[in-house]
């Protein structure tokens, strides 16, 4: 996927300015940055719930910006939104079934379900429970499982660690890394837990007030003084 010169505005307020990001097939790319930098807006623009003002997003050569929202999931883009957004009044199993709403998802349903249950065994135990009654961590697992159920070519995860206990966060990160390594799914991750997120990824982008201020590999970014000071709280003052 290639994002070129993307500009997004809410009314007069520019949320993203001339953002260019490339995610190669099979890559793990992370976007980090402080609150309000436009990370979620970036995701919403890709999956289509926020319109772009300028620039282009190409997914396997096809331009997404002119495409209706519901079509984009069928291309193989799975968006695991911020705050989980599970279907609270549906059971866990029904949530996963809705993830497999796309044609690719239906074709691979048996295999995906098995894989999801392998990654998150608790979801098999809780299959018939309403998703709204689960804990935050379990809901995050449902949200990720729901994304996986669509047999995606690109899995976008928006702050999967939000509001979770550190131990659960570690588990979630471990599973995301597993999905990338073992299933070969391309991953685009937005995170505030900068160090952990960057460690997993092939390439990282730093987004600040709507613009990409820096990008590079884990090593390059971790050696940068500004990143160390601003996001990791280390480095000499």
């Amino acid at each position: 996927m290639e994002i070129q010169g993307l500009t997004v505005a809410y009314g007069g307020l520019v949320a993203l300015r001339d953002v260019s990001i490339t995610v190669g097939e099979g890559q793990f790319v992370t976007v980090v940055g402080p609150n309000g930098a436009g990370k979620s807006t970036l995701f919403k623009t890709i999956s289509g719930s926020v319109p772009a003002r300028g620039g282009d997003i190409r997914f396997f050569g096809e331009s997404l910006l002119t495409m209706p929202v519901a079509r984009r999931a069928h291309l193989g883009i799975a968006h695991v939104p911020e705050g989980r957004q599970v279907f609270k009044s549906l059971t866990v199993r029904e949530n996963l079934e809705m993830g497999a709403y796309t044609e690719a998802g239906r074709k691979n349903w048996e295999a995906s379900l098995k894989r999801i249950h392998m990654l998150f065994p608790i979801l098999e135990e809780r299959a018939l429970q309403l998703a709204g009654t689960l804990s935050g961590g379990e809901q995050q697992m449902v949200a990720i499982g729901r994304g996986l159920a669509s047999a995606p070519r690109l899995l976008m995860l928006d702050e999967p660690s939000m509001g979770l206990a550190p131990a659960i966060t570690d588990l979630i990160f471990e599973r995301i890394s597993q999905i990338h390594r073992e299933d070969g799914v391309t991953i685009l991750l937005v995170e505030q837990r900068v160090a952990e997120a960057l460690e997993l990824s092939d390439h990282g982008y730093v987004l600040e007030t709507g613009s990409v201020v820096m990008d590079g590999s884990y090593r390059t970014l971790m050696q940068d003084d500004r990143v160390r000071r601003a996001y990791l709280g280390i480095g000499e003052e």
């Binding site: 719930s49 519901a70 079509r71 999931a73 957004q85 609270k88 009044s89 809705m98 309403l130 689960l134």
Partner: protein, 320 residues
Amino acid sequence: MIDTTVLIENVLNALAAGITIGCIYGLMCVGLGLIFGIMKVVNFAQGELLMLGMYVVVYLFSVWGLLAFLGPYYGPFVAALAAGPVLFVGGSLLHKFLISRVSGLRTSGSLDEGHFGQLIITLGVSLILQNGGLIVFGSTPVGVRTPLSSRAWEFIPSEAWDVSVFFNKARTISAGVAIVVAILLYVLLEYTRLGKSLRAAADNPTAASYMGIDVEKAHRTAFGIGAGITAIAGGLIATYLSFTPFVGVDFVIIMYSGVVLGGMGSIMGAFWGGLTVGFVQQFSALVLPPQLQNAAIFVVFLMILLLRPQGLFGRSAERA
């Protein structure tokens, strides 16, 4: 001694009428249950959708006589079922041009979830349909003449007593049709891909669009089904009741109390809620004058909600 027999007979007959009318009310509430309980759209024009369903039967069967060839026995019931697809189309159009502007993705996340707009728009639609109905259909009460309306099956519980229970044929058949339609809708919503996608689109429109569900279309379909279901119930009521274009006003309140009583978000609950309302209405007729029947409904309504604020079948999907 005679008094006891009469009392038993009255109670049993109220029970029979309560069950049959209750099932039809149940179906009526299921239609609103889908629109208000599941999709969270406040629709005050639901009574007028019911009214239109009734007139569809009158026109198909009596006025135009398109279905008259089916005879006075089957004709009215087939016409009542036909009111479903007609109002499905009508409801879908109403949603496409008006309701969709104040519901679904457009208002998801807004302060009132679009309820203010829905209230005003549907009240307006309701007034337009009532008065439009008056112009088109006239103010003379009409009904569908079927010989079944004035016939009943007699049921004698025991030879020992001198008691008979009467099941009005039109109402009893209507109740049967209502149960079948309600079960079909339940199966559609619970077990089919379409049904699940409708529930997902109602639960979280934004997330549903990420799944590749066409949310606009899903909401339109659900609204159309809800309109069609209530219209079928209206068509069934038309087989035993005469009515004017203002009939919806009486029923819309019954529908809302049924849906809330059964528990928001539950189709089965809406049916039981409607059944309860029908029951209370018929039983109150034993001791109260007819003018107070609706008051009795609300007394019971308030008592049940006092004890079970979430409704009979309501379940909270939120983690406590």
